[in-house]
């Protein structure tokens, strides 16, 4: 391990806190560097703290997610990327000890407000998980489940259209068109992940959240999914968590760098990768720690 840039935070990452508490280190990180706000944001995160029981995982994050744009979230393991992402469609509701404060809005409406229904929210903000998790049902049923759930189709033909279109958009239709009745779980890992993306698209969400969608895939499958993300950008707002700097650089227009639950720096992907302004960002993307 390269030790020349020892920052106090480094030790903490290995869970061996020195004299400083996380709160103190986070305070020492200062304000977020770069432009957190965009014009006309699709989703907007303001001053969000997240706690798991007493432990704080996210510290005062401000961030906008814009339409027709991919924003990538990067940072060392355990820095709270997944936690923040899961706040965006209230998947954290399923964790009883998880508590979220601050404001998150979708089209200007608070998603944690009383009159927002999490079920409706999740239909509008879709999510693709790190591990492909198709339902143990047929490929067709996997994709048809969402539309059926929300009554998006008027009849069977409609549903067929939605399924085929979603599979096509996810770039997997050609591979599975002759076996739509096979189990979704019988596909390869990469195919499964694209099936999960098709399943998410089928609900016609407005935002798609992806948590390390390619971490279990080989480079070819990864390339396919990256291509797909780029195409999906035309119609959706996309937030993607990734551990691969190259992937962030390839697919995203903006990049947010997190450290210990704090948003350290955010900006255009090009700028972040060529000219990072915060020391921690620079260390991370040049591979000095992680």
């Amino acid at each position: 391990m390269n030790k020349e840039n020892t920052v106090p935070a480094l030790d903490l990452e290995q869970d061996t806190p020195t004299e400083q508490t996380i709160e103190e280190i986070v305070a020492s990180l200062g304000d977020t560097v770069g432009q957190t706000r965009v014009d006309n944001p699709k989703m907007s995160v303001s001053n969000v703290d997240v706690f798991y029981a007493d432990k704080q995982a996210i510290f005062g994050v401000d961030l906008d997610i814009a339409n027709n744009e991919v924003i990538s979230m990067i940072g060392p393991s355990g820095c709270g990327k997944s936690t923040l992402l899961r706040c965006l469609n209230r998947m954290n509701d399923t964790i009883p000890i998880c508590r979220v404060t601050g404001d998150i809005t979708l089209d200007g409406e608070g998603i944690y407000s009383k009159d927002t229904d999490p079920v409706l929210l999740r239909a509008r903000v879709g999510m693709v998980f790190q591990k492909p998790n198709p339902f143990p049902k047929s490929i067709y049923e996997n994709v048809a489940y969402g539309p059926r759930l929300h009554g998006l189709n008027r009849n069977r033909a409609d549903l067929d259209d939605i399924v085929v279109n979603s599979l096509r958009k996810a770039g997997i239709y050609e591979e599975v068109k002759n076996r739509l009745d096979d189990a979704g779980t019988s596909l390869s890992g990469g195919q499964q992940q694209r099936l999960c993306i098709a399943r998410t698209i089928a609900c016609s969400p407005e935002v798609i959240l992806m948590d390390e969608p390619c971490s279990a895939l080989d480079p070819i499958a990864t390339a396919k999914i990256e291509e797909l993300i780029d195409e999906l950008r035309e119609n959706y707002a996309i937030a993607i968590v990734t551990h691969s700097m190259q992937q962030a650089a390839r697919v995203s227009q903006r990049t947010a760098y997190f450290h210990l639950g704090k948003l350290v720096e955010v900006g255009d992907t090009d700028t972040i990768f060529t000219n990072p302004r915060h020391e921690l960002t620079e260390n991370y993307i040049t591979g000095r720690f992680g």
């Binding site: 391990m1 390269n2 469609n89 998947m91 399923t94 009883p96 079920v119 409706l120 929210l121 999740r122 239909a123 879709g126 999510m127 998980f129 591990k131 998790n133 198709p134 339902f135 143990p136 049902k137 047929s138 489940y145 969402g146 759930l149 929300h150 189990a183 779980t185 999960c196 399943r199 998410t200 609900c203 551990h243 691969s244 700097m245 591979g287 000095r288 720690f289 992680g290």
Partner: protein, 444 residues
């Protein structure tokens, strides 16, 4: 993968490579021991399985050998003259008179006709024993169905009495001196004569499956207790399965995790360990004494057994629900399914095979249960086959328990035969469970 981890692994490799040769040596040395241990373990496994299989085989074979004769019954061919005088019937008898008629007299007469030499009272008595006491019910049924038979002579096959059928099956040792024998020498002569005349025949014992209990082993059947068991188990299944599954789903998927749910969980686990007779006492106190439900009734038996099986099914259902991967729940929730939809569309179908296994274990336990049923009076001597949930009834294991207590040779056979029926029902139940499980698993 990012370059940081690449970097760290490349740094980590050099110290490990120096260890390799050393490690190889050590591993090689330990290999022999490890494989020997594995072999020994496998051997123990095989021994254990062989032992348990042979115990099972011994059990099943001995029960089968003892029980098989009960599925056969010996019949005696008689020409019975049904004249109104012998039957004690007046003019135009009604059904009630027909029921009470003296069919035994007619049977006795026809026996005497076969052996006109038999004159002494004692000898006559010995001869009468050839036909089972139940024979008169066969005649009764025939005559009541067709009263025109009165006055005619009909040829019938009537069940042979216990001693005679024991002799015919070779259960009576003729080398024993006559005095110590239940079946005397003159009886042997007569029955051999009948046998030579082809008047004795062994047929499949339909009585065993078509009648309820009886004091006469030849006339005792399993139908009453089989139906009792089926009715009781139906009540148990209908009550315990939905309640247990609903409880498990609520506790596992919806209930907040707090002190109350902890207490409930501990109590459910405790209930599963409560001796079954306690449930019987509870049933007696609540269902019979408080709610005034009838004694000996399948409905009460079913209620009591539901109490007993509920915790078993709840525990296994919770385990099955818990084992459904969280990623499936996340996937469904992420698509906008409500909690209830997640459970009923995905979690429950995936947990179903496990739940069914637990249910079958619970039902099998209930099927074999005796103690709590004794408490609620299902141990009474009941001749009629139950038709409704409130009819008095007994169940298979209780019937076995009762028959095992009786000295007649016929009941010894019947006991084993009833055990075979009980095992058969168990196997059938398990087969259904396997089929259901297959069906659910096929859906992935």
């Amino acid at each position: 993968m990012n370059n940081d981890s690449l970097e760290s692994t490349s740094e980590a490799i050099p110290p490990e490579t120096t260890m390799v040769s050393d490690t190889t040596e050590k591993v090689r040395k330990s290999l022999g021991r490890r494989y020997a241990r594995e072999k020994r373990f496998k051997l123990f496994g095989v021994i254990a399985i062989t032992a348990s299989l042979s115990f099972l085989a011994v059990l099943i074979i001995s029960i089968t050998i003892r029980g098989l004769p009960a599925f056969k019954q010996t019949f005696l061919n008689l020409d019975v003259t049904l004249d109104a005088d012998t039957l004690d019937l007046g003019e135009n008898p009604d059904q009630d008179a027909l029921r009470k008629a003296n069919y035994n007299g007619a049977i006795k007469n026809s026996l005497l006709e076969l052996f006109p030499d038999v004159k002494k009272r004692k000898e006559k008595k010995a001869l009468y024993k050839f036909v089972s006491n139940g024979g008169q019910y066969d005649l009764q049924a025939k005559v009541m169905a067709d009263p025109t038979l009165i006055g005619q002579t009909i040829n019938v096959w009537l069940p042979v009495g216990d001693d005679a059928s024991g002799y015919l099956r070779g259960h009576i040792d003729t080398s024993v001196p006559e005095k110590k024998r239940r079946f005397k020498n003159n009886q042997i002569t007569w029955i051999e004569e009948l046998r030579a005349d082809n008047k004795v025949q062994t047929k499949f014992n339909r009585t065993f499956f078509s009648r309820g209990d009886s004091r006469e082993p030849e006339m005792a059947g399993i139908k009453g207790s089989l139906f009792g068991s089926i009715l009781t188990l139906m009540v148990t299944l209908v009550l315990s399965f939905p309640i247990a599954v609903a409880t498990a789903i609520y506790l596992e998927e919806f209930a907040p995790k707090n002190r109350w749910t902890d207490i409930i969980e501990v109590n459910i686990n405790n209930l599963a360990a409560v001796p079954s007779i306690v449930f019987g006492l509870l049933g007696l106190a609540i269902f019979i004494n408080f709610f005034n439900l009838p004694r000996s009734a399948p409905i009460v038996g079913g209620l009591v057994l539901s109490l007993m099986t509920l915790p078993t099914i709840i525990i296994s259902a919770r385990a099955a629900l818990k084992s459904v991967p969280p990623s499936i729940r996340d996937a469904a929730l992420g698509l906008g399914a409500s909690n209830l939809q997640v459970v009923f569309h995905h979690v429950l179908p995936l947990a179903m095979p496990g739940i069914l296994t637990g249910t079958i274990i619970g039902m099998a336990q209930a099927l074999g249960e005796t103690a709590p049923l004794l408490m609620i009076g299902m141990v009474a001597f009941i001749v009629d086959v139950p038709n409704a949930l409130t009819d008095p009834a007994t169940v298979l294991p209780v019937q076995i328990f009762q028959w095992a207590d009786l000295p007649e040779k016929g009941f010894v056979e019947k006991t084993s035969a009833a055990i075979m029926v009980l095992l058969g029902v168990l196997i059938a139940m398990n087969a259904i469970a396997v089929l259901l499980r297959r069906k659910f698993e096929r859906k992935w």
